[in-house]
Symmetry: C2
Subunit: 330 residues, 2 copies
Amino acid sequence: MKKFMNTAETMVAESVEGFVRAHEEFVAFGVDRKCIRRRHLVPGKVAIISGGGAGHEPMHIGFVGRGMLDAACVGHIFTSPTPSQIISAIEETDTGAGCLLVVKNYDGDVMNFEMAAEMAAGRHSVEMVLTCDDVETVRASDGRGRRGVAGTLITERLLGAAAERGAPLAELKAIGDSLSPRIRSMGVALTGVAVPHTQRTTFALGSNEIEMGVGIHGEPGHSREPFASADTIVRYLSEAIVNDISQATDKALLFVNGLGGTPPAELYLAYNTAHRILAEHGLHIERSLVGTYATSLDMQGLSVTLAFLNDEEFSLWDSPIATAALRWGC
Amino acid sequence: MKKFMNTAETMVAESVEGFVRAHEEFVAFGVDRKCIRRRHLVPGKVAIISGGGAGHEPMHIGFVGRGMLDAACVGHIFTSPTPSQIISAIEETDTGAGCLLVVKNYDGDVMNFEMAAEMAAGRHSVEMVLTCDDVETVRASDGRGRRGVAGTLITERLLGAAAERGAPLAELKAIGDSLSPRIRSMGVALTGVAVPHTQRTTFALGSNEIEMGVGIHGEPGHSREPFASADTIVRYLSEAIVNDISQATDKALLFVNGLGGTPPAELYLAYNTAHRILAEHGLHIERSLVGTYATSLDMQGLSVTLAFLNDEEFSLWDSPIATAALRWGC
């Protein structure tokens, strides 16, 4: 396992420090480095806060800035940030209009964000939106619901844009909840990943195997398949999404996300394939995003996300954004 | 070798098609798909044209758009585009003020771009700037000069910005030539890469080896070293650059580039290390760029680039840009 790191104990802190240094125009460390916050807050705007384990960069720190998040809390690798970190982010970014917490649906994250919300409740108006875009349904059947994966980016972007336009907390909570059934993702891995601290690989793949339905924490997926052409793999992912998604209209945002070790050229090829397959299903791709945004350390793999949005939501997507990972219109 | 592809023969064409589809707001195919061109040309502006082999994406196609390139020509993997492609790009983008070709210093690229320039000379004013930022000096000693690698991005950006401000062809040629001794890069590989068409790996690394001084075409570097900490590796690269660069002032742009298979978190950690080491050498990092911009297929590795710029050049760097890979101010 060769990585650019010094020690497993310091790698997250060193990487996040590099991030903040490289993007000083957008972000700053919060008090005691408990969160990464937007450098210039907008008084009276609802604060949008997210976070999760490290190992998914640029998610979520790369989304802090105008038009998206006001703060992100980073835990250890694949481990939720602590309630103390989240409370600190709430205290630093609530300028009076309250806070919306956007949380990927994992037990640890949900527990810690809920605890923070309860502890802050006396002093701050706090609401929470869970993202649960992963088509993979094993968890869904045991009552814990779907996992939040790359599609979380879309929820955070749309909520960030709506907050920037002045939407109040209750409206943002409603937008977030309404997006949930309209965003679906599915991932595939060509390689497993090992967490540096433990050196454990949760699944290992042979030279001719791939893992279908993976999450972003090195969890195994739902089936081991033989390696196949991009057409075959991307068709599997795309059609699983199309067959799963509810409230589908015919206008969508297509997001092809790299899981860390997949180069842009392969992501664009996969995007091209997905675009063609979705056209066969009568879908119009109104907006596109292709790149490495929600990673699982250095995993070779990708995920496909489809979000069925309305015109108002496409307009929110297009509005000015200035973050490290997404930037346009300003 | 697992990649997202269908056939080795079609992978470049499929990937580029995906790219154009995903970024229709900026780019379009030229006639017969010989080049990728800026969708909206600016009449009277000097056209900036680049290109090279495929396998380096987003370089150069991701740099086509306002404030950078007017066209990019893509060859086969690690193979120069043909003179016919380059002539086509010249014909499509010259709106009367001439064309500047920005060419990475590799024999095949130089030969084909020179041939195209000669063949177009009767009908178009054409100048050429060679980029040669690689510290690796084996080639330099045999008279062919340094290779052009990731630092090419900086030259293309500054020339694109200057062209957008109305600089005439002769001035752009002078700016490009003046940048050459002030931009230096050096790369390291944790893994080799194999070209899909030939299945050949130019060098293979053991689980405890790294290759220092690699280019972006899978060329071996100048020394095989034992795997080491990020501090050790990045110090080696950074100090090689600092010791090599001529005309050094104390204000620089620091660019940490992923070679395709390295995730953002590791790049930010390497950036943090480079920033600290360069500060020890009295350098002020005025601008930063961290990400995967000039790749060598899916190689795990990175390069460090340092560009010593003046205030006017920093201002060019900051000016509005709207391309797939770099976007700010508009």
